[in-house]
Structure formats: C-alpha cells, structure tokens
Amino acid sequence: MTTMIELRQVSKSYGRGDAEVHALREASLAVIDGEMVAVMGPSGSGKSTLLTIAGTLEEPTAGEVLIAGQPVSNMSKAKQAQLRRRTIGYVFQDFNLLPGLTAAENVSLPLELDGTSARKARVAALKALDGLRLGDRAGHYPDQLSGGERQRVAIARAMIGERSIVLADEPSGALDSVNSEAIMRLLHGACKDTGMSAIVVTHDAQLASWADRVVFIRDGRIIDQTTPAAGPESLLVNATPEAGK
C-alpha cells in the first residue's frame, strides 16, 4: 500500500486585503494506490482548487503536496512538468479534446510530447481506445463522436502511458445518467485493475458513490468523509417488500 498523492494542511487564497478569498483552508487528504476518492461539495466549495493543486497545476499558498512521497515544492519546474506528462492524467468536464486531431491522435499526444516515437505512441493509443471499446472510433474527430465517446477518449488520454494518478473534474459533465455511470465504472475499474489512484470532484452524490471513499468539502475545508460500511449484503437483508393484503 503506497500513498500516491497527499495534501498536507494545504491552503490557497486569491487576492489580498479585503478582496482576499480563501479557496482552500488547511485541507489534508491522502490517496493510496488503487483507491478512488470522490471530493463532493457545492459550487464554490474549493473542490476544483483542491484538484488543480493536487495535480500541481497550481501552487498552494501554504501546506505541502506530495506525489508518491515526494514533496512537489522540492521539485524543479522541469521535474513538475515531467510529472504532469508521465504520472498524472487529467479529465475535464468539457473533455478538452483538440478538434483538429482524431481520437487516436488526441490520445497519443501526451506520449509524443514526452518523446515517444509517433509510431509507438499510436500503437499505445489504439490499444487504449480498444480497451475502452472505442477501437472503431480511432479515426473519428471529436465532433464526430457522441458526448460519452468523447469523454471516454479523454479518459484514454488521461490513462495512457500507465499513469498512476488520474484527476477528474466533474468528468460526467452534462452526460446522461447511463453515460455518466459508464464513465465512473470505467474509472473505478481502472483503479481496481491497474492500481491507479483517482480523485474525482463532483457535486453529484450518484457519481460520488462509485468512489471507495467520499470526502465532503465546504467553504474550502474538508469537513467529513464516508467510512467503510457493512457489506452490500446488509442492504439485501433490510429491504422488505410490502406484504400482500
């Protein structure tokens, strides 16, 4: 069991004086390998800020972020950039696929940017798309894909290169409930099968319930979290239908 990502007493504020806004206040969170954690809170609660800081896209005002036990603040900018290319994958609400590239090209892009040959990157991209049942969509452009397919391409891009951490910000966005479920099933399955760690931020309890642990955030503070409960079989014993009259 390895702690893949850890936030220690992380705070983030924007602006100064009367205009200062505290987006995150002394937030601590540790995610182990194979674990999927959902961060649940309303708009403006600080959950997206938590994700961008965990992903080293922003620096905290105070506190420390550790990736696989290594403090990010001790890393050079080049090392942090390498971390973002090789270790951490990002999934955004609006997919963020590049419109002029096919699905396969979008997925292979992070590998190519990291120096992998175009041929090898394409092979890896096709394999990743196949794994998400998108093999027959590899040559399609984003505007030729449905919303659910676009997000699965984005997930393939986030996971390619055997990255060990995936951070997702409202990954099901405006997708319907069936497609949303498919996205969460995919992310949770990847964590179980590959040992990948994931943090998913969402305001939606239904999506959060796919996570192994749900952390609740309010006004920039982590206020609570779910605890491992009794097994699912306890629910089946408690559920009783209405008897016939």
Binding site: S209, A229, V237, A239, P241
Partner: protein
C-alpha cells in the same frame, strides 16, 4: 412493491408452485427484496380467497404440493394495477424532513452539521448499492433496475439536503449583523429594521439568533 401483484405477474406466465414463485420473485428483483415462504403462501391464500388465482392441487394438501394458476379476474386485476399510477399526490411524513425542520427551531443546533451527518449516511448507503451494481451481471436487467431505483431515490434525498443546507446558509448569512461596521452596532439594535427572510419555518431561530448576536445593550 406489492408482493400480491408480483405473484399475479409470475402466474400470468403459467401455473406455478409456491416455492417456485418465491425463487422467481427473488431472482427477478435481483434479490433486492428477499421473501419468506410464509409471505408467499399468505399472499396466495388471499389471492385465492379473492378469486384472483385458483389452485390445482388437493384442497387438503399443504402449500408445496399446490400449483396455482391466475384466473380471468386476476389477469384483469394485474392489467389494471400496471396501468394505475401509485398515489404520490400527498407528501409522505418524511422523518428526515422533520428532523431538519426541528433542528431549525432549536437555538443551539448546528443545522449544517446535522444535515451533513444525514448526507454522509445516505452517501454511504449509495456506495453500498453502487458496489452491488458494479459487481452484478450487466445483463441482469431486473436487478439493475431495482438497484437503480434505490440509488436514484437516495440521490434525490441527498439533493434535498444539499438544497436545504444552501438555503439555511443563505438565510443565516442574510440575517447576520454587519459586524464589520462597529458604528452601526454601537447604536444598539441594528437588526430591528432588518427585513425578515422569507422562509417561514426558518424565522424563529434565525431571527432570534441574529438579534442576540447583534445586540450590545440589554433589554
């Protein structure tokens, strides 16, 4: 879920013994609603009494030896039931809603904390149902739909808690005195002229608190 109509539905496929009815009921509801043998036979006896099913076996024989078949009246009853929407016109007496409303009336209750305790519990339940869905056979439509119904129901309760939490916070924020302006508070009763938030069930506590916090002179 009505066991009575579920039995009629299963018998509409052909005559069946009581034990088989129980097995099929549990299998088709994804074992979400376990049923005991007593419930099955009590239900079948009542259906027979009402002329909705009839039994083939010897009238003296015990349940397991009896095969039941649906009657014409039973088929009609089943069809009517399927097409009749359940009565959802009156809101149920919801214990959770009552707890939150009562908390609003108590001056020393932290309503957000109380709401969060319920929210956590509900999300934990949803996690358990989601694990059942994740581990289940995707081709088992009955089970998937039964579990979905429970997850959607719990999700709607969490959404209500989220909305309640947000409303309470907003009303509370509106009712709080302007602490950054000591000139106002020095005059004594800054909240007396404050507009009352338009949330009737929230008024007694929130207005009482804000007056207390804003007051600098004793009555």
């Amino acid at each position: 879920m009505s066991v009575r109509h579920a039995m009629l539905a299963l018998l509409s496929e052909g005559p069946k013994f009581g034990l088989r009815l129980r097995e099929e009921f549990e299998a088709r509801t994804g074992e979400v609603w376990p049923l005991n043998v007593g419930q099955v036979y009590t239900t079948l006896q009542r259906l027979e009494r009402d002329g909705l099913v009839e039994s083939d076996g010897d009238s003296d024989s015990e349940g397991p030896q009896k095969a039941y078949r649906i009657t014409g009246a039973g088929a009609k009853e089943l069809d009517t039931w399927l097409r009749t929407p359940p009565d959802l016109s009156a809101p149920p007496r919801d214990e959770l809603v009552m707890k939150v409303l009562v908390a609003l009336e108590l001056s020393d209750a932290d309503v957000s904390e109380i709401i969060q305790a319920h929210r956590r519990y509900l999300v934990e339940l949803m996690q358990q149902w989601t694990r059942i869905k994740e581990d289940g056979d995707p081709a088992d439509l009955n089970s998937g739909l039964a579990v979905d119904a429970e997850i959607f129901r719990l999700a709607s309760v969490v959404r209500w808690l989220d909305a309640a939490d947000d409303r309470v916070r907003r009303v509370k924020a509106d009712a709080e005195p302007p602490v950054a302006n000591p000139a106002t508070t020095d005059r004594g009763d800054p909240d007396d002229e404050r507009p009352v938030p338009n949330v009737p069930w929230a008024l007694p506590r929130l207005r009482g608190n804000s007056r207390q916090e804003g007051r600098t002179t004793p009555r």
